[in-house]
Subunit: 267 residues, 3 copies
């Protein structure tokens, strides 16, 4: 059974290693996949986006996610089962898991694991990844029933994240930056369908307005279709429209941050 991990723990400390250790103790046969530990600290929405887009490429299993600014407070800890593929998601009830379960048809079973019988005592106030989430995820990977991991709750009570919608106006598309990757490529909340009728099409020049400044880009298939240092708009590997610079960093050059509004116009 696969256990995948997504956190904002980074790689400087022993946090990730300790979580691996706890899982190895409870579920020696589990195969642990580090999806990423590079989520920006406390970046719940960014974590939710990455989890949702990445999970379809992983075998079904137990998917642990911890981006948890409210650790140690009254926020709930949860484990859920998705309608499609029977994936089990474990993490804080702060919306982090919500885009992923939406991707797999919603939640068919949910339990509050805050006081799970699987957690060893004592539980620290600040490291639930080690003391609560990893033990629960490992027990599930080892075959424990979801219903035995905590108290049943209504799926409708779970926290969910709402993403902004792009707006199509005359000759213009108003979008938002969803997330930045480590290269400075900026994914927008724009799918292929949102482009219909906007005049923003493959091969065309596109004007990008952001923060009062205007930039000229080309809508291409891949980076090497434009020169070094030139801006491109492209459908990224997760099928979102994205802004990048060939061999450069679009986020810093265009001053793009998550949630920023970006206007696109054909030229």
């Amino acid at each position: 059974m696969i256990v995948s991990l997504l956190t904002d723990y980074g790689h400087e400390d022993d946090f990730v290693g300790v979580v691996h250790g706890v899982i190895a103790g409870v579920a020696p046969g589990a195969r642990v996949i580090d999806l990423t530990h590079g989520i920006p600290r406390h970046g719940v929405r960014h974590g939710a986006l990455v989890l949702a887009r990445a999970l379809p490429y992983l075998p079904a299993g137990v998917h642990l996610a911890v981006v948890d600014p409210q650790v140690g407070t009254e926020r709930r800890a949860v484990a859920i089962r998705t309608a499609e593929e029977d994936r089990l998601l474990v993490g804080p009830d702060n919306g982090l898991l919500s885009l992923a379960w939406a991707r797999f048809g919603g939640v068919v079973e949910a339990v509050d694991i805050t006081r799970s019988p699987h957690r060893p005592e004592p539980v620290s106030a600040t490291f639930h990844g080690r003391d609560l989430f990893a033990p629960v995820a490992a027990q599930l990977a080892a075959g424990a029933e979801l219903a035995d991991a905590g108290e049943a709750i209504e799926p409708g009570e779970l926290e969910a994240i709402e993403l902004p919608e792009p707006r199509r106006e005359e000759g213009e598309l108003t979008a938002h930056v969803l997330s930045l990757d480590g290269y400075g490529n900026a994914a927008l909340n724009v799918s292929h369908d949102d482009l219909a009728g906007t005049g923003v099409t493959l091969g065309r020049q596109v004007e990008i307005e952001s923060g009062g400044e205007r930039f000229l880009a080309t809508f291409t298939q891949t980076f090497a279709d434009v020169g070094h240092g030139e801006i491109l708009v492209y459908e990224d590997a997760y099928r979102s429209l994205a802004v990048a610079i060939n061999r450069g960093d679009a986020a810093s050059t265009l001053g793009l941050d998550p949630d920023d509004e970006v206007r696109l116009r054909p030229r």
Copy 2:
């Protein structure tokens, strides 16, 4: 059998991958856990602290640690067995392993592996992780006897690290920064017991004096108990008193470095 790794190799280079490769060649069935490779370069004491606090969360096995500024000189390389849990520790004899073996009841058997029969020839002067420590650790994981890994030595001859002790004076506790994590949280050499009688208790305001400056903090259970940007004192997940800033970086804001003296007073 588990083989855990802790080093200061970082993730930019192939050093960690090559160590994994060597282990996979000698002990194909071993499960390798990367405890961390983010120890600051040459940070022997920091590595020793992290190893000691993390190992209790890992299954017993072979625990390889390499932070080794004296690599290639006459410093000894060693492998030891702990009194409790039969853990095997492998690394340079520079104190790196000493806090961990103290945590597990001391050393019951020690061998000098500098010229171990398990090491392949030639051994480079600068990469003993690959050429000496990994081959020995992997042979132990594959079932080799500790006594066959080198020449027996007296446990009392091994290098050990001494940590500073906190001092309780009237209305004041003088502590030291033990280590900083990647978030800028600073762990102090103060346990729960050291606080008895100091007036520094949960829920109270605490004055922190460091480098001639004074800061006001609240002794809380977790980060979200104070506002964004506010300083907290809390018992961290390894049960050390620690200083942090909710959604901030205490080390840089308060100017804290490892070994710095910090005075705590109730307010």
Copy 3:
């Protein structure tokens, strides 16, 4: 079967995790070793050097490498078998694999996998690691025949990297910086044999001229043979001559970049 990974994906994003996920889906029994994901972005030659020097320390298997600035263009994707040890290398046909196959006696079989039957549809234009290379590598690890992974091509058609040669002149050796590691140590294109007759020998002082500046170094075996902050020349763990500073960063102090010319003279 081992599958090793070398990329320039870094650890901030989910790219590496998704590649692991794809491999786990196709070849659940494969053991995946992350050789490194820290190759500088688009550093094809650096990646080629690291792959060639590291692979001898890994068990033979499927070795996937992706540093691919031309992804999505007409550049070929290939899989090859080496003459020695039957290693299988998978990656873009841009020279990245060429130093590794040279290390193992050359190529005895090569296939163009650009339109491999193993790749699932659709293939994105920008993430061939996930959509093409990982599926092919995993199928090979699961036992598929190399000949079935694509169309046979002539080994002589493959792209290869040429490294600069050092020049021996009277009392002077002109070398080039091959690569820098994360510590700032600079490997030169100089082997032990290249030093014969130059007067640059163990224990001697060596003058290093680079970018018009001259620096004094000592040719030693290991870092601790010189004082803190002093420059050393040494044979590194991969048997290249290298320049370093004990507890310092030679690349930034001496201003060394890959490909820079460096002159060495005995003093």
